[in-house]
């Protein structure tokens, strides 16, 4: 496990750079992924996606299917890519502190 340091905080991450432990998630982590993703400013819609992902994960134990994310937020996939250039998995889920997906995905 690698360790990432940002704004004085340290985070344990897996080899793909996903946060190892959701409990460590916080504004510093969000800022770290924001820079990584090359996002200039976080707007309300970013937070709508992050909050949805975290709520779903806490309730269901996994990240939502992309189509459910799309339906609940009302954002089309194309717009989600505009918000998070690496996409819903490698961008949004990473920023929300969720683990990377596994299996036939």
């Amino acid at each position: 496990m690698a360790v990432v340091e940002h704004q004085g905080k340290t985070f344990e991450v897996d080899e793909d750079g996903f946060l190892a432990n959701l409990d460590e998630w916080g504004p510093e982590w969000v800022d770290y992924v924001k820079e990584l993703e090359g996002i200039t400013t976080l707007v309300e819609d970013h937070w709508k996606v992050i909050n949805m992902l975290q709520d779903y994960f806490k309730k269901n134990g996994i990240a939502p299917m992309v189509r459910i994310l799309s339906k609940v937020t009302g954002f089309k996939l194309k717009y989600i890519y505009e918000l998070f250039p690496s996409g819903p998995g490698k961008g949004a889920c990473k920023m929300a502190g969720l683990p990377k997906p596994t299996g036939c995905v």
Binding site: D14, R67, I68, P101, C104
Partner: protein
């Protein structure tokens, strides 16, 4: 993660030059993009695998256990006794080279060690050194070499550049099964704690929760309910799934990719529509929520551990037989290993009979499980399904035979029969004959290596397949690549996005769902992906609605 080169650049650098040095003197080049990351200790602990520790492929020290060599050699000795096939495969190869240019990884990388003959030689040379008289006495002259850490690293590198697709075996005059050798080689690697993260994370999730994606029962239900709602929204037909319902006639098991990842989710909608149409008495299991088996990519023992839940759930739910969705390695495991894993043919299940047509699936007599393509083709053959093929008129399709369903199981005709029934005439085009059916080229990312960090090797391994897809795109204007495997539906979109832009991937049952005509259905204006259908409904109206 390494940056993936542009397609032109990657293709230009494929070289088939003879290397300057002999193969024993060349070490693998662990460049980022070519290998999978080491499994995190967490996953190894979840499944009780030996030597869990944090280690990195990129570092020189792999933190092997001190007695790793003894473990490997003892493991090889044990496997030589248990699998006569392994000993025979080691002994009978005459280096004729018929396999050499049949491997998609060799064609994609030009690396001689990806010739199956030489990939096998990486292990065979160790077998010779320690288990044959000639090798013990003559060493390198007899093709033998000592087992060193470098040799072990070489195994790790090249055994994860084999997708156990068995195309080479088809051309081998002796029928040497590279897939079996690779699987046993990976077992030996696992015995000293060398696993790849993508495969083992999926295995651990599946062992813990029932599916590779790690879906909890509530997540599983949430996704299925969502897809049923989508069906209702688009077709006006309710397709309520039933969960863990005892006494249903059939247990339906599908790969988790089909209810989690696009475009598989549209195939899942297709299954539900089909079952509703024929009134199939079926149930889903929230535990046997995975037909696929990444365990089999790791070891036979793990394959067995993950597979057992399918029969267990069939027994608990008291169903008569099992129907399987579109999944490649699920099919290989269920047909060729499941009764052996279980110990016998499960007596609590019946020989599958289609409740709609009365067809007895004699081929499933032992394992009691039918493939959705066999089942659907039989329904069509008996005239039980009504299709409007014009709803698929926008789809010009070619079909990728998945290695495990085609070479592994001989399912060639059924998907083609379905395709020709649900598409307008002339919309189905085959790729060149040496790239389909039993000679199909692998997607290049199967057997647990569909990770992110090894993208360069995935794109190279998939190059021969992509090349054939590109051919039919350019020559016939093909715009969809169909398949009956969820791993393909996960890997092919990435592959064609890279090599064949503009190509979409689809499952076959999705096309069935598009075309099925239900009594009392809504007027259809889109396909299951919400794409407007030309000539259906009022185009202007749908355009206005579309900007929501």
């Amino acid at each position: 993660m390494s940056k993936l080169p542009k397609p032109e650049e990657l293709a230009r650098n494929i070289s088939f030059q003879t290397p300057a040095k002999g193969w024993m003197d060349v070490k693998p080049d662990f460049r980022p993009g070519t290998y999978c990351n080491a499994a995190a200790p967490k996953w190894m602990e979840w499944v009780g695998y030996p030597f869990p520790r944090a280690w990195s492929v990129a570092e020189a020290d792999w933190k092997l256990p001190p007695d790793w060599k003894e473990i490997i050699l003892a493991g090889m000795e044990d496997r030589l006794k248990r699998f006569r096939s392994l000993k025979i495969f080691f002994d009978i190869c005459v280096r004729c080279g018929a396999c050499a240019d049949k491997c998609h990884f060799y064609l994609g990388t030009g690396d001689p060690k990806n010739m199956p003959v030489l990939r096998a030689e990486l292990m065979r040379s160790v077998y010779k050194r320690y288990f044959t008289t000639a090798g013990k006495l003559l060493g390198e002259i007899a093709g033998a070499r000592d087992l060193t850490e470098d040799v072990l690293k070489e195994w790790f590198f090249y055994l994860h550049q084999c997708t156990i697709c068995r195309r080479c075996s088809l051309f081998c005059p002796y029928g040497i099964d590279m897939a079996e050798m690779t699987l046993l080689g990976r077992e030996m690697l696992a015995s000293v704690g060398l696993n790849i993260d993508w495969a083992l994370a999926s295995v651990a999730q599946c062992y813990d929760k029932g599916s590779h994606i790690g879906a909890t029962p509530q997540a599983f239900k949430d996704m299925m309910d969502f897809l049923a709602e989508e069906n209702e929204r688009i077709t006006g037909i309710t397709t309520p799934p039933s969960y863990n319902r005892k006494g249903a006639e059939v247990l339906f098991v599908m790969p988790s990719g089909d209810y989690f990842a696009d475009p598989g989710t549209f195939t899942m909608m297709g299954y539900m529509l089909l079952f509703e149409y024929i009134g199939l008495d079926y149930t889903l299991s929230t535990y046997a929520a995975e037909g696929g088996n990444f365990g089999w990519f790791v070891s036979h023992e793990m394959g067995k551990r993950l597979n057992v839940k399918i029969y267990e759930e069939a027994k608990r739910l008291k169903v008569k037989w099992i129907l399987g969705g579109e999944c490649g390695h699920m099919w290989r495991v269920c047909n060729q290993y499941m009764p052996t894993y279980w110990g016998e043919s499960p007596g609590f299940l019946e020989e599958p009979v289609s409740p709609i047509t009365g067809t007895r699936f004699e081929n499933a007599k032992v394992h009691k499980m039918v493939h959705i393509s066999e089942f659907t083709a039989d329904l069509i053959k008996h005239g039980k399904l009504k299709f409007d093929t014009q709803r698929n008129a926008h789809i010009k399709l070619t079909f990728h035979d998945s290695c495990n369903t085609s070479r592994g199981m001989g399912i060639f005709e059924e998907p083609r029969y379905i395709i020709n029934s649900v598409l307008p005439e002339g919309n189905f085009v085959e790729m060149p004959p040496n790239t389909i059916r039993e000679k199909t080229f692998c997607c290049g990312s199967s057997s647990g290596i569909n990770a992110n960090e090894n993208m360069e090797i995935r794109m190279l391994g998939g190059f021969p397949r992509a090349n054939a897809v590109r051919y039919v795109q350019e020559k016939y204007g093909v715009n969809h690549l169909g398949c009956i495997c969820a791993l393909d539906r996960a890997t092919l979109p990435t592959l064609v996005q890279y090599w064949v832009p503009g190509m979409e991937c689809t499952g076959i049952t999705e096309l069935v769902g598009n075309a099925l005509v239900f009594p009392g259905e809504l007027e259809r204006t889109t396909d299951l992906r919400d794409r407007d259908l030309e000539g259906f409904g009022e185009a202007e109206e749908t355009e206005e609605e579309g900007d929501e």
